[in-house]
């Protein structure tokens, strides 16, 4: 006999039937004891308490489970063996019928046991079984009632499991085997095998945070079949047919029986394949998954481990904590008791720990408990199962993926446009698509080295203090607030080699308390709006070079800022979140190309002469209503922003019907001042936006050069900021703070009209890119661009710009710094402009200009398709008024009247007025 056969014979030293009988006895005995801690009126609860606080009972539960599964396996093997030995011929006809029925009872006993643990899998399995039973004609409903009872009670199914099914199986076993007791050694070996397995592997219990729901393993094949059937009632017929086929076996002729048995064997084999498929390759909502991929590795069950062995023999300090409702059902609290610092909405006593931090809540063993645990649940890679789980914030978790702060679509689109990889800046992108890309283009490498750390999907890996270098973190980026205590406890814990006595007790808070520090990190880049809002302008000084005079501030990353002037809203105590609300920041689910489409708040929402519409509290959408409750706002109704229509939750009216904005973090009440008459009457400046006048200064950056350097140390921001050798390097020219240039944005309104708006413009890109350094074969060797961007510099002042600051300023008009003078000779006057900067060879314009003096540009002019500098006609109009201003003071009657009756004023000029005649060739700019 071969070694294989010898081993086989040695291991299976008794019949399959004997093994299954021994296992049945073990199952029944363990089940009887298990009935004591099990509580049928709260099954799930009692099973959890068994796993947490009763290690001996947990071992018995595992024993009960494993002996039952092995019983099923040996039962099938026993059937196979009996069929191949024609055993069905040796049994009386009446007994054969009962044995066939017993097959049904075996599966019912197994399934009812599965249902009795009462977790999410069990409840759904119960509903499915109920549906299938009711599909049986005539007696279906009665059968369902009889075997399952009615939701939510488990009483009937419990009785059927422990009494009816068990008794039936015991009786039938005795009837056909004439004994209930196997050989001693058979019983002992089975007890040893199941006992050790029970010590090392827990019986399944559904992981409450895992969305995968599956029935018991032996029915995964059936589930696969049911998944393909729109009318699953036929499956019941199929089961009945198979049973009838088995029943008919002894009544058939020998060759027919052989044929049928072959079919049955083949069906069993197919079913086993389907079971494997259903068990390993089906995941959430029964969709296909690849089990060795990280994100697909959810089994629905808490991760098993050898924790029970450790708990059984090592831990003796467990107490039954009845006073902690949710936490009494989690093992976490056995070590992490008295965790403080979270708001009532996130109190671990209500929601537990594992609803955020995952892991295995149903054990008190440290190693098992921490399997699959998430240290920082807010990261977007985890958020769908942590913050965004169905019971908590599911809609936010969906929206957050499309917001510009996650996708960086605008940033990527403009970068590709600047690198000449795309004809316009309006492409649609998401930064996560870059993460998996193998070969990155020039712009994509540029983004990887220099830009894309600023997105919400960037993973935070450990608790850290919030600085200007903080990036990413998903939900934690805004909503998590550490304080000195939490951070010092954490660092002591790490420093002390993570001993248990140093476990931190203070947890960072999760709240709506989003201070400007949360925004500062990423928004101190690009347009610098965070520092500008507070009045700081970036310099290129090093910390050591800071002069003695003036106010300076050095950031965490070493950049030095100097104080110019702060935004008036900051001066009055407003924070970022007082204007920018949840739908703007977290998105509304839609994908936007550029920032100004997603951010909907407008000055006129608050600063208006019009009467606001009011929305009642009951008509608010779910999110705004929740925010109103959390911020303890008492009002019954709220005004809606005039332009955006967003409900202004932090605005209320006082006793004099005056509207006040109540700042969210500082609690100040600020009157919402209406604009003065000069801003709202229909007049010459109709198309000028609020910000064009009221911006005091904006950073203007010119003369930048980008080069790919193979020896430069850079970063791979797509993969956790790993340092890389070989990087794009940006050399900056000059950054100055001055009143910004102005440009024209054109939009088509919903009625089809063309609407123009004058907005501030800052040079984002007067730059060169050395393409050959990156790709020597590229089409462009050196790319040069002169692009300005529409900006919202957060440096608003109460008083607007004075007339001459736009009409007579070369910078405002886009010509760049220089002297712009109106020269009058005789009866003729013409404007002259001399630039401070030399002209660039690429396009003959001064270094810092946007457009030529009384010229128009062609080609790309801006980072937006609908934004451009003033065209020649507009420049002429502005300079005409500028000419007036060289004589007439700004607040003179003439100038004031010209605002509303410009043409009329032009029609009766005094003989002393010398205005530029744009049609006269002598007024055209001369070549200097």
């Amino acid at each position: 006999m071969s070694l294989f056969r010898k081993t086989f014979r040695y291991l299976l030293f008794d019949t399959y039937g004997a093994f299954s009988m021994a296992l049945l006895v073990i199952c029944i005995l363990s089940g009887i004891i298990l009935a004591i801690p099990f509580n049928v009126s709260a099954p799930h609860d009692s099973v959890i308490r068994i796993m947490l606080y009763n290690p001996p009972a947990a071992w018995l539960r595992n024993l009960h489970y494993w002996s039952a599964q092995l019983f099923l396996v040996f039962f099938i093997l026993h059937l196979w063996e009996q069929f191949s030995q024609w055993g069905e011929q040796r049994v009386g006809r009446g007994l054969w019928f009962v044995l066939v029925v017993a097959i049904l009872f075996v599966f019912f006993a197994m399934l009812s046991g599965f249902i009795l643990k009462g977790d999410a899998d069990s409840l759904q399995a119960r509903r499915i079984l109920h549906e299938l039973l009711t599909k049986i004609p005539v007696a279906g409903k009665l059968l369902a009632w009889f075997f399952l009872g009615r939701e939510p009670g488990f009483q009937i199914i419990y009785v059927q499991h422990i009494a009816v099914a068990t008794l039936f199986l015991v009786v039938i076993t005795y009837e056909h085997a004439h004994t209930l007791w196997a050989r001693h050694d058979t019983f002992l070996v089975m007890l040893l095998i199941t006992g050790v397995t029970a010590l090392l592997f827990n019986a399944p219990l559904h992981d409450p945070h895992d969305p995968v729901l599956k029935g018991p393993w032996y029915f995964n094949g059936l589930q696969e079949i049911l998944h393909w059937m729109s009318n699953p009632g036929w499956s019941v017929l199929l089961v009945v047919l198979i049973l009838m086929l088995i029943w008919f076996l002894p009544y058939l002729k020998a060759y027919q029986e052989k044929y049928v048995k072959k079919i049955l064997a083949g069906s069993l084999f197919i079913y086993l394949l389907l079971t494997l498929m259903g068990y390993y390759f089906r995941g959430e909502a029964w969709q296909w998954v690849i089990p060795w991929r990280q994100q697909d590795r959810h089994s629905g069950q808490v991760k098993a481990g050898a924790g029970l062995a450790r708990t059984l023999f090592l831990r003796n300090d467990l107490s039954f904590q009845d006073t902690l409702p949710a936490s009494g059902k989690e093992g976490c609290i056995s070590c992490h008791a008295h965790t403080q610092g979270l708001s009532p909405a996130h109190d671990p006593l209500s929601i537990g720990c594992s609803s955020c931090h995952l892991g295995n809540p149903y054990t008190t063993d440290k190693k098992d408990a921490h399997k699959g645990m998430v240290l920082i649940p807010g990261n977007l890679s985890e958020a769908r199962l942590t913050c965004g789980t169905t019971d908590c914030h599911p809609d936010i978790s969906d929206r957050i993926r499309n917001t510009l702060m996650s996708s960086l679509s605008g940033m990527i689109g403009v970068d590709k446009f600047v690198f000449n990889e795309h004809p316009n800046p309006d492409g649609h992108y998401h930064v996560r698509d870059l993460q998996d890309k193998k070969a990155l283009s020039a712009s994509e490498t540029h983004l990887k080295n220099l830009c894309v750390s600023c997105h919400l999907g960037n993973t935070r890996s450990r608790p850290e203090v919030l600085t200007d270098e903080s990036r990413g973190g998903g939900c934690s980026a805004c909503h998590l607030n550490h304080n000195n205590r939490t951070l010092s406890e954490w660092s002591s814990y790490l420093a002390g080699n993570k001993t248990d006595t140093l476990l931190p007790h203070h947890h960072p808070s999760l709240s709506l308390r989003i201070t400007n520090e949360h925004c500062f990190g990423c928004h101190s880049r690009s347009g610098r709006i965070s520092p500008n809002y507070e009045g700081w302008h970036e310099t290129f000084l090093a910390h050591e070079q800071i002069p003695d005079t003036g106010r300076f501030r050095t950031l965490h990353d070493g950049r030095v800022f100097t104080y110019v002037s702060e935004d008036i809203h900051h001066h009055n105590g407003m924070d970022c979140i007082d204007c920018h609300t949840s739908y703007e920041l977290m998105g509304n689910g839609k994908e936007y190309r550029h920032e100004e489409r997603q951010v909907t708040v407008r000055c006129e929402d608050c600063h208006t002469n019009k009467t606001h519409n009011w929305i009642s509290r009951r008509d608010l959408d779910k999110e705004n209503r929740l925010i109103a409750e959390l911020r303890k706002l008492k009002a019954d109704s709220f005004p809606e922003g005039i332009v955006s229509g967003n409900p202004l939750l932090n605005v209320r009216s006082d006793s004099n019907k005056r509207l006040l904005l109540h700042t969210k973090l500082t609690g100040k009440d600020l009157p919402m001042l209406p604009p003065v008459a000069a801003c709202t009457r229909k007049e010459a400046h109709q198309a000028v936006s609020c910000t064009a006048c009221h911006t005091t200064w904006a950073p203007s950056c010119i003369g930048c050069h980008n080069q790919w350097e193979p020896n430069a140390r850079g970063y791979d921001m797509l993969h956790d900021n790993q340092p890389v050798l070989r990087s794009w390097v940006e050399y900056a020219g000059i950054m100055s703070a001055a009143p910004p240039a102005l440009g024209v944005s054109t939009d088509t309104t919903s009625s089809g009209d063309l609407r123009k708006e004058v907005l501030p413009a800052i040079p984002g890109m007067i730059l060169t890119i050395d393409m050959h350094s990156f790709n020597p074969t590229s089409h462009d060797s050196l790319i040069f661009h002169r692009l300005f961007a529409p900006a919202q510099p957060h440096t608003i002042s109460a008083k607007g710009r004075h007339c001459k600051s736009c009409h007579n300023s070369p910078q405002a008009l886009g010509f760049g710094k220089g002297s712009l003078t109106y020269v009058v000779s005789g009866r003729y006057g013409h404007w002259k402009f001399t630039s401070d900067y030399v002209t660039r060879p690429e396009d003959g314009l001064p270094e810092d200009a946007w457009t030529g003096f009384l010229q128009e540009r062609d080609g790309p002019v801006s980072t937006r398709s609908n934004f451009r500098p003033f065209n020649i006609q507009e420049q002429q109009k502005i300079l005409t008024v500028g000419a007036c201003l060289t004589c007439h003071p700004e607040n003179s009657k003439v100038m004031q009247k010209s605002l509303t009756r410009y043409q009329k004023e032009l029609s009766h000029l005094s003989p002393n007025c010398i205005l530029p005649d744009w049609n006269d060739v002598r007024t055209l700019p001369k070549d200097e």
Binding site: Q124, R127, H227
Partner: protein
């Protein structure tokens, strides 16, 4: 009381008569056993009928026939056996039982109701978007109390 007594004695008389008649005319000695078997069969039928009535009555008494909610929030909300969908003033109540195999739907995916068992998807009005289900979710009848504003949803009354 008199009627009962009279009926009872009449019944026993009839049975006595039947017994004697059948015994004498049709059945030999083993007939007694068979007679009671037949009688048992005849008596079992009404017992089954009464049992069926008892189960039905239990269903009526103990089964949940309605759910009361103080308010229905905006958007899609899950309340055990029912799903409520509110858009502005419009309210719709659906049964959460998936029409494929009866699993309870308690989550959404990209705005659609998704069954966790085999992935069937339904839109906000209950119609099927993705199989294996092929029948729409049952719409349930509900009433609003004009005074308190609370909603009573009837589980056994379909729209």
């Amino acid at each position: 009381m008199d009627d009962c007594f009279f009926a009872h004695s009449a019944c026993t008389d009839i049975i006595h008569f039947l017994y004697l008649y059948i015994m004498s005319s049709y059945l030999p000695q083993a007939g007694r056993r068979k007679f009671f078997k037949v009688l048992g069969g005849i008596l079992a039928a009404p017992f089954l009928v009464v049992a069926g009535m008892a189960i039905k009555k239990t269903e009526q008494n103990q089964g949940k026939s309605r759910i009361i909610l103080p308010a229905i929030p905006e958007g899609i909300s899950f309340h055990g056996a029912v799903i409520t969908i509110r858009t502005g003033k419009k309210v719709r109540v659906l049964s959460s039982s998936c029409t494929h195999l009866g699993c309870r739907i308690q989550s959404t995916r990209e705005g659609h109701l998704q069954c966790p068992c085999h992935g069937s998807e339904f839109s906000g009005d209950g119609s099927v978007l993705k199989g294996p289900a092929d029948r729409p979710l049952t719409s349930l009848h509900y009433k609003t109390d004009p005074v308190s504003g609370q909603f009573t949803i009837y589980l056994n009354r379909n729209v």
